[in-house]
Each structure stands twice: as structure tokens, then as C-alpha cells.
């Protein structure tokens, strides 16, 4: 598929993406076991295949609009974090856990990627492994890591973490601990899984996701830039 007019192409890209998102949302409502993000992603790929539209051409016209949307979602994440009720929380211990999660979340996958002799771009992209997609993509953009690779890492790790976490929680009774671990490590997918455990787990997961994203977004770009200088 090819378009002569950029405006028409952009409109078609938005329409195709919107159709995939809406269908995935309807399907996820009817089939609760279906992960919405993955369904929407597969639908976009299927639509591109049906319309014989090359992904690179589609992405080139969609990028200007979706870059703005991505920015708005990143800024929007500040609201649940600022509205978090800290009453009764062991703040010092939480700060320590978040700091460790942020450090380990970036340094462990980068070290492992280096150990497994992955390419320089892939190692950089692993810096955003433990943060939610909008923040992760902003970090990847800042440290000049490939955006699609960073997004792939975030999606796959979130899916693995969210799916397998319940097998790792044997012997752990506190839902706050389960939720916090899921939000800190498996970001959005983990938070969705935490809401299935209980509301307490969900709230702690949302806190972990937002605060880890915020902390990592500050230190990782500075650290990587200093390292490359």
C-alpha cells in the first residue's frame, strides 16, 4: 500500500492503529485471559500484512503523531504517583527497596547482555528493561538505544514476569510484597497481574511501577551519558 498524500497516510495509520486497539479492547473484555497489548500488537501486524503496507512506511507516517501521544502518557503517569497515599507506609525501607530495584533493574540485564555477548545497541536497550513502556522509550531515546528493541525487551519481560510471578510467590503471604515486586520488576503487565491477586497488591504494584519509572528516568540517562563520555 502506498499513499501520495502524507496527511492521508497519517490518517490511515491512526485509523489502522485505532481499529486494532478497539478490537483488542473488546476481545479482552469478552475473553479476560487475553492480554490486550499483545492482541492489539498482533492485530496491527495482521492489518499491515492484509493491506500490504510495509512496517517502516507505516511507522514513518505514524511516528510524528504517536510521539506526541507517548509524551502525554509519560506526563500523565505523574498523577497516580503524586496521588499515592503514603500514610502508614515504612518510608525508609520502601525508599531502599525502590533504589535497589532501580539499580538492579538496569544494571543486571545490561551486565547479563554483555556477558552473553549481545550487540552494543541491545545492551543499551536493556537499560530500560524494568520501567514501563512510555518512560522506557523516553529513556531509550535519550541514551540512543533502538526504540523497537527497548520496547521488545519491556514487553517480553513484562509478560514473563506477570505470567510466572505467581509460581515464585510460594511462601510469601503479604499481598503488599507481591504487588510491590510485580510493579517494580514487571511494570504494566505485572501491575495487571497484581490486580488479579488483590486490590492491595494492585495498589502497591502501581506505586512500584510509577516510582521506579521516575527514579530510573533520572539516573539512567545521566549514568549512560557519563559512561559514554
Amino acid at each position: 500500500m502506498s499513499f501520495d498524500n502524507v496527511f492521508v497516510a497519517t490518517f490511515a495509520a491512526i485509523l489502522l492503529t485505532l481499529a486494532a486497539h478497539v478490537i483488542a479492547r473488546i476481545l479482552a473484555r469478552k475473553l479476560s485471559w487475553l492480554p490486550m497489548v499483545i492482541t492489539a500488537l498482533v492485530l496491527v501486524v495482521i492489518f499491515l500484512f492484509i493491506f500490504q503496507w510495509d512496517y517502516n512506511n507505516y511507522y514513518a507516517v505514524a511516528k510524528p503523531v504517536f510521539d506526541h501521544l507517548l509524551g502525554y502518557v509519560t506526563v500523565l503517569l505523574a498523577i497516580p504517583l503524586a496521588a499515592m497515599n503514603f500514610k502508614g507506609l515504612p518510608i525508609k525501607k520502601l525508599v531502599l527497596i525502590v533504589a535497589m530495584a532501580s539499580l538492579i533493574g538496569a544494571l543486571l540485564p545490561m551486565s547479563l547482555a554483555y556477558l552473553f555477548s549481545l550487540s552494543h545497541d541491545t545492551i543499551l536497550a536493556f537499560a530500560s528493561r524494568s520501567v514501563t513502556t512510555p518512560i522506557g522509550l523516553s529513556i531509550a531515546d535519550l541514551i540512543k538505544a533502538p526504540l523497537a528493541m527497548a520496547n521488545l525487551i519491556i514487553i517480553v519481560s513484562g509478560l514473563i514476569g506477570g505470567t510466572l510471578a505467581r509460581f515464585l510467590f510460594i511462601g510469601i503471604e503479604d499481598d503488599r510484597a507481591k504487588g510491590l515486586a510485580l510493579g517494580l520488576v514487571a511494570h504494566a503487565f505485572g501491575t495487571v497481574e497484581a490486580w488479579q491477586i488483590s486490590h492491595t497488591a494492585g495498589r502497591y504494584a502501581a506505586f512500584g511501577l510509577a516510582v521506579n519509572g521516575l527514579v530510573t528516568a533520572v539516573w539512567v540517562p545521566i549514568f549512560i551519558t557519563a559512561l559514554s563520555a
Partner: protein, 142 residues
């Protein structure tokens, strides 16, 4: 410090106001970052600016209920914003070639071990805090 206070506002108006605030903060961050020559940091600068504005708002008056309600509604559909990039990620998985095994091992180890570790650590630390304060139990939290 108040976390939120309730307010009666129709959802459409809450959404419109929230979007206006978010777009203003983000576009202002883009403008300032362009002037400072750090354009790529605009989203993160916007996030931090929004967080500090809200924290000041929270200290002075408390964050209004309509703002959190609207943000919850918008965040449910936030996946739409990163769908084009996600589609590229899906295609990339099939093109990893020799890197696939190293890539998958890195993700598995760096995801599962920290989840387990932080769950064990949080379980100990949060419960020890409760034991010392003697105010909450696990069952009460559920």
C-alpha cells in the same frame, strides 16, 4: 498533607481539563528543552515537572478527585500510544537471529530473580515494620 479530595465534575469535563493540563505541561517542557538543547529529555522533564506541580498542589489544597479519576480512565487506554512502536518490536523478535538465546536468557534471569528477591525482601521488611508498630496484620491488608 491531603492525598485527594472529592469533587463533583462530569467525567468528560474532567478528561478535557486533565488533557489540557497534561498537554500544556508536556509542550512547555518541549519548548524549554528545545531552548536548552536537550529536546530528547522533554518527556522526562515533563513528567518531573508535572510531579512537582502536583506535589505542591497536594500540599496546598489536596489533589482533586476528578484529576485522579480522569487519569485512571486515560491510563487504561494508554497502550494505544505505543502500539506502532510495539508492532515493530513484535517483528523484531523474529529478526533477532543468533542473539535470540542470549536475549531470552538475559530477560528470564533479570526478570524472575529480582521479582522473587524483592518479594521476599518486601515480605520481611514490611511485616517487621508491622510487628514493631503492632498496628496492621496481613489479613487486614487484603
Amino acid at each position: 498533607m491531603k492525598s485527594t479530595h472529592s469533587s463533583k465534575m462530569p467525567l468528560w469535563m474532567a478528561l478535557l481539563l486533565t488533557l489540557t493540563i497534561v498537554i500544556t505541561v508536556r509542550e512547555s517542557a518541549v519548548f524549554v528543552c528545545q531552548l536548552a538543547g536537550i529536546e530528547k529529555a522533554a518527556n522526562i522533564v515533563g513528567l518531573l515537572t508535572m510531579f512537582f506541580i502536583l506535589m505542591i498542589w497536594r500540599f496546598i489544597k489536596g489533589i482533586p478527585g476528578w484529576l485522579t479519576q480522569a487519569s485512571n480512565t486515560l491510563l487504561v487506554d494508554s497502550g494505544f500510544a505505543f502500539l506502532p512502536v510495539s508492532a515493530g518490536a513484535g517483528l523484531l523478535l523474529f529478526a533477532l537471529g543468533d542473539e535470540l538465546w542470549g536475549f531470552m536468557l538475559t530477560i528470564l534471569i533479570s526478570t524472575l530473580i529480582p521479582i522473587w528477591g524483592f518479594a521476599v525482601l518486601s515480605n520481611r521488611w514490611l511485616n517487621r515494620n508491622n510487628d514493631m508498630n503492632g498496628n496492621t496484620t496481613i489479613n487486614e491488608q487484603k
